[in-house]
């Protein structure tokens, strides 16, 4: 007996052929299906329905297209509604505007109005919105190059607003930044920085003021009546300088205003001081006349108010200053004005405000 070769022993062709002929067993189809389903479950896949590949290949493109369409339509809608969204409604403005115009200050206020519009437009640009629509600049009475020189960044529609505010071309031409104006602004900045220090209230004075009654009704009524009268006079005689007329009344209002303001500030800062102050007779004299003791404001309050005013467009800011001045809050008005001049050094102030601001 000899050993068979390795090849022969390892694979026998006849045996293989016979085995293959007999080997026809297979697992039942149900078992196949169960195993395949388990395999799909394991990978989280499902059998592909007809057209799956098509929808899958187009899904990304369709999603991108849909997002683009939505974005464009949203931006378009927002641009259309930009004036309402960006600029606050000017419904509260006409009263102040008409007052100023009737006082013959239209010429001076045209500058602030234009600058305010420029700011609004700039804000619109910043948030990607369309600036407010208005008339073309042709009615301004100024040729296009002049207009561009006066408002290098503004657009045509801004000029429409300028026209509405009856701005004189000569005034516009003057509104270039001059070196002297910049120097003035720098001086004003220094003065404004010094102002809060000068006005820093002493703690005991603040406490006294906080305890002061809110207002004497008679004084308030007088102040309001005075303001109304003053307004009427301004309307009837626009050319006349109203400073001499209004100043005494403003002083009278100032007797009330600083006390109330400081009381508010104190109540905000000192929670213990929230209890209502003891009532005082209406005839009780106020704590101190504003001339003797300049209306002391706690710096944080003043700063926050200034910051709030700084958010306003220039013409509104000036109106705020004017209101403060009319209410007799001269120190606040001065601080705000100094801040304003710091912010807008080349801005032309209304004549009344300019006279008042002179030391």
């Amino acid at each position: 007996m000899s050993k068979p070769s390795h090849n022969e022993a390892e694979r026998d062709a006849r045996l293989t052929a016979l085995y293959r002929a007999a080997a026809d067993d297979a697992p039942p189809p149900a078992l196949d299906a169960a195993i395949l389903a388990a395999a799909r479950r394991e990978v989280g896949a499902r059998p592909r329905p007809a057209g799956f590949a098509f929808s899958r290949s187009w899904r990304t493109s369709l999603s991108i297209a849909a997002v683009l369409v939505l974005s464009v339509s949203l931006v378009t809608l927002m641009r259309e509604e930009a004036p309402e969204l960006v600029a606050p409604p000017r419904a509260d403005m006409p009263d102040a505007d008409s007052k100023l115009k009737s006082a013959g200050m239209a010429q001076e206020t045209a500058g602030p109005a234009a600058s305010g519009l420029m700011r609004e437009e700039q804000r619109s640009k910043n948030i990607g919105l369309k600036p407010p629509q208005s008339a073309s600049p042709s009615g301004l009475g100024m040729r296009q190059p002049e207009f561009a020189e006066a408002f290098p960044k503004s657009k045509k529609d801004t000029a429409g607003k300028l026209e509405a505010d009856a701005m004189a071309p000569a005034e516009l031409a003057k509104r270039r930044v001059e070196p002297s104006a910049v120097a003035d602004a720098r001086d004003n900045k220094i003065a404004a920085a010094a102002e809060p220090q000068r006005q820093a209230p002493k703690p005991d004075v603040l406490r006294d003021l906080a305890q002061a009654p809110p207002a004497a009704p008679a004084t308030m009524a007088g102040s309001v009546a005075g303001m109304a009268e003053n307004k009427a006079q301004v309307k009837t005689d626009p050319a006349r300088s109203d400073r001499a007329e209004t100043e005494p009344r403003m002083r009278a209002q100032a007797e009330y205003a600083p006390a109330k303001q400081v009381a508010e500030a104190m109540s905000a800062e000192v929670p213990a001081a929230k209890s209502p102050p003891p009532p005082r007779p209406a005839s009780t004299p106020m704590v101190a006349p504003p001339q003797a003791k300049p209306a002391p404001l706690p710096p944080p309050v003043a700063v926050s108010k200034l910051e709030r005013a700084a958010d306003l467009p220039p013409e509104k800011w000036l109106e705020r200053i004017e209101e403060l001045r009319k209410q007799g809050r001269f120190d606040e008005a001065k601080t705000s004005l100094a801040e304003f001049r710091k912010r807008y050094p080349d801005y032309r102030l209304p004549a009344a405000l300019k006279d008042w601001a002179k030391p």
Partner: protein
């Protein structure tokens, strides 16, 4: 299998289609019961599915798959009788000289091939489990001696020896029947 590991369920379908028959027949002839074979078959594939995430290429997939099947079968033997068949412990096995008809005795292939095939299956069934396994692995998976050794967890010489004994016995049996 790597594609299936990476989430391609279609790759598993292909693997299953290619190997399901061989694995099933291997299990069926090793355990001798179709119902049990189906159960073992399902377990093998489920083990493969569960091992998907940790699958790394260390050997041919066929070797890996039949290694799973072999292990499941050993578990089955242990569960049935408490230990694996003695032939799996017989590393060297008898010498070839002890095997009758182990030489060039060609099995007589009669006119009725089907009858001969049935006779062969019967002879396979009578082989010791380890030899049978080696023979079945060779026939069903077309693995080499080295791969069979790897799948069954033995060295190459043991696998080779088992195969030679299996083939010699089958030849002898076929010759006798012929």
């Amino acid at each position: 299998m790597e594609r299936y590991r990476d989430g391609d369920a279609g790759a598993f379908d292909a693997l299953y289609g290619r190997h399901k028959g061989g694995v099933f027949r291997y299990l069926a002839r090793q355990c001798g019961n179709r119902g049990v074979a189906e159960e073992l078959f399902q377990d093998v594939w489920m083990n493969l599915i569960r091992a998907r995430a940790g699958y790394t290429v260390q050997a041919k997939f066929t070797t890996y798959l039949y290694r799973l099947a072999h292990n499941r079968l050993i578990d089955h033997y242990r569960a049935q009788s408490g230990n694996v068949p003695a032939s799996f412990d017989d590393e060297a096995g008898p010498s070839l000289d002890e095997v009758a008809g182990a030489r060039n005795d060609d099995p007589a292939v009669g006119a009725d091939a089907r009858q001969q095939a049935q006779r062969l299956l019967q002879l396979i069934e009578n082989l010791p489990a380890a030899q049978r396994e080696t023979f079945l692995l060779q026939q069903e998976s077309d693995m080499s001696i080295e791969e069979i050794a790897q799948a069954t967890g033995v060295n190459r010489e043991t696998a080779k020896s088992r195969l030679r004994y299996a083939v010699a016995k089958l030849r002898e049996g076929m010759q006798q029947s012929g």
